[in-house]
Amino acid sequence: MFDFFNSIQTIHWIVIVGSMTLFFIGFYGLTTQKNLIKVLVSFSIIESSLFIFFIGLHYKTGLVAPIVDSGLKTFTNMVDPVPQAMILTTIVIGLAILALGLSFGIEYFKLTGKNDISTMDELGG
């Protein structure tokens, strides 16, 4: 029974189904929520789901993290470092967007007392 769960095929299936479910939950929040902070929360959930999806599909049984320790001296049997580098970059960018969005929201709230994006109606024809 554990063999089934330890096969790399199963792990990849779990990763795909799980991360896509998270993606959908975030997407649902993004489209239905009206509070700016909850929109940003949904956005972050989608981002997390994509990161897990990408890193998870690059994992294969028997591979180790791409770092040489005292024992190891060669870079073999390691997971692909490029996806990890890309995700690292994307996480930092996500934080930047988040902080910026929150500061917009705070300033807008100070001006109007609203943080509901569906009632923003200053602009329009």
Binding site: T32, D80, V82
Partner: protein, 242 residues
């Protein structure tokens, strides 16, 4: 764009549609076969011994795809400037509220501060040997300041020093990129000596640790500024000119 009068029917149709989309997406992804090609990452792993960096992720972030990191640092810098632009008030000092600071908290936070900053510095300078690096270490340092702000709400950071650290590290980073052009005829070339037998030592990897230290200083000062602006108590819940 007033979405107030949304019919429940619309919600149901929308949910059904997006579930169908999700199922198709998952279905397509489940059929995906593993890649037939040798990925860039595998080639980088082979080449990685030449950079003499024990952590392959670090060498990809700081060297092989170094220009992405320059851009990433710029993104953080821009976001910080945006936050400061948004949250800075011209007459901030006029209505300063004196919040009571807790004695134990303020002493405790000062004791913890040095430990956390030390930990952050450790993460930064061991970025090429172990997990972590400039971004993570910089944020850890900023967390120390967050603690300080929570304990002493009236604290003010010295913006001169922060701005100096931020500008200087940023400009030095760009100069490191340009020195590569002049010395190695390629932008961001690894112009410092990096003998491969030194792999795993603290001083190894040529420009990689230098870049991560610069990134650490920059990210640390920027994140401290963000934390400071977000933890300001100056905002009251009064609504201006509605």
């Amino acid at each position: 764009m007033n979405l107030k009068k949304v019919l429940p029917l619309k919600d149901i149709v929308f949910s059904l549609l997006s579930s169908a989309l999700l199922l198709t997406l998952t279905g397509i992804l489940l059929q995906v076969k593993p890649d037939k090609f040798k990925s860039v990452g595998e080639i980088f792993l082979k080449l990685n011994i030449q950079t003499a960096t024990a952590n392959a992720v670090t060498s990809v972030v700081a060297f092989f795809r170094g220009i992405d990191t320059v851009g990433e640092v710029t993104v953080l810098f821009l976001a910080t400037s945006g936050v400061v632009l948004m949250l800075s008030e011209t007459q901030r000092d006029s209505e300063k509220n004196i919040a009571q600071e807790s004695f134990i908290l303020s002493i405790g936070s000062r004791l913890l501060l040095s430990v956390i900053v030390l930990f952050g510095v450790y993460i930064i300078i061991h970025g090429h040997l172990s997990p972590g690096g400039g971004f993570q270490g910089g944020v850890v340092i900023a967390t120390a300041f967050l603690l300080l702000f929570l304990a002493n709400p009236n604290l003010k950071l010295r913006h001169n020093i922060l701005t100096l650290g931020e500008s200087l590290s940023g400009v030095t980073y760009i100069l490191v990129v340009l020195v590569g052009l002049f010395k190695m005829n390629i932008l961001l070339g690894n112009f410092l000596p990096h003998p491969t037998n030194e792999i795993g030592e603290l001083v190894s990897g040529g420009i990689v640790p230098v870049i991560y230290i610069l990134v650490g200083i920059k990210v640390g000062s920027e994140m401290s500024v963000i934390v400071e602006y977000f933890s300001k108590e100056d905002y009251h819940k009064e609504v201006r000119d509605v």
